[in-house]
């Protein structure tokens, strides 16, 4: 199995489940097991690098996709916390990929798109990247490190 999406997507264990946990703790518990402390992921087995996440909010489908990825959509986090976590991840790991007009996610937006789960996340991701590539939205710095799939 080359892709670990279903098995390893953002594993966490919250024993101190509190609504007021700071975002670094929420990230560590829910995401860092697979994406790592620096968000780097493990690209060779299909765990995406969160430092590139900011690219996805450049298109509407990409923006929705970040809500629909298994680690977020299928997590136990409520919509408000999921939105805060998503904004924190984007600012913490991928601020240089965000455009100046980036609008933070809201709980209502997460609630609206969350139910459409990306059960084949890799295919959806590839389609979004292909669309962005076609529209010239992917920077050279991304293309140099992440070549298009064969």
């Amino acid at each position: 199995m080359r892709r670990l999406w279903a098995v390893a997507a953002c594993t966490g264990l919250i024993t101190a489940a509190r609504a007021d946990l700071p975002m670094p703790t929420v990230y560590t518990l829910n995401c860092s097991g697979c994406h790592g402390a620096r968000g780097q992921g493990v690209r060779e087995v299909g765990i995406p690098d969160l430092n590139d996440a900011g690219l996805f909010v450049r298109t509407e489908l990409g923006r929705q996709y970040l809500i629909q990825v298994p680690g977020l959509a299928q997590s136990r986090l409520d919509d408000a916390t999921a939105a805060r976590l998503l904004n924190w991840i984007l600012q913490r790991f991928s601020a240089d990929r965000l455009t100046a007009d980036f609008v933070p996610y809201t709980a209502a937006e997460v609630a609206r798109f969350r139910s459409d789960k990306a059960s084949d996340a890799q295919a959806r991701r590839d389609a979004i990247l292909a669309e962005m590539r076609g529209r010239g939205l992917l920077p050279q710095s991304y293309e140099a490190t992440s070549p298009a799939p064969p």
Binding site: T11, L13, T15, A16, P22, G36, V42
Partner: protein
């Protein structure tokens, strides 16, 4: 009244002769800094009273506080330590994250349970506490997983380490 004035004047002049303004400031500063640092001194604040089951403070036992969400063989038993993989193995690239309370200081710590990969199973000191784990139908919080699976050719499981990655809160 004049006696009172004289007494105070004499005392003030003596104080002025014996001390400098900088000296007073320095003393006050040292007092302030000392007071600020006193709570940080490494003093045993349990005052000799064990605040928890002694077993939970013994890293060789399965109920050691840091193993609360452990599912694996202790690397400390397999040629490594509680937080370092044995020679000939590499640490897993993905891991299981748990929250365990240290009975000594009462704080909740975030623990990363990484598998050590690349050799066959150590076969000793198996511990399974798995606090708050859920069955496989909630895959996101299911720990019956070989965390060596992302290590390519070195995907065989040997043992598990537990590493503190933060404080919850």
């Amino acid at each position: 009244m004049s006696l009172f004035d004289e007494t105070v004047e004499t005392a003030t002049r003596k104080l002025a002769m014996l001390s400098s303004r900088r000296g007073v400031l320095s003393l006050l500063g040292r007092l302030a800094v000392g007071a600020a640092l006193a709570p940080l001194l490494p003093i045993d604040r349990t005052f000799g009273k064990p605040s928890t089951d002694p077993h939970q403070m013994d890293p060789s036992k399965c109920d050691y506080w840091k193993y609360c969400a452990m599912d694996g063989q202790l690397c400390s038993c397999c040629g490594g330590t509680g937080s370092q993989c044995p020679p000939g193995t590499e640490v897993s690239k993905v891991s299981w994250i748990g929250t365990c309370r240290n009975g000594k200081d009462g704080k909740d710590y975030l623990i990363s349970y990484n598998d050590c990969c690349g050799r066959s199973s150590c076969g000793q000191c198996y511990c399974s506490s798995n606090l708050n784990e859920r069955p496989g139908y909630e895959m996101g919080i299911h720990n019956d997983v070989n965390w060596c699976m992302a290590n390519g050719g070195a995907a065989s499981y040997h043992c598990t380490v537990s590493i503190i990655v933060g404080v919850a809160g």
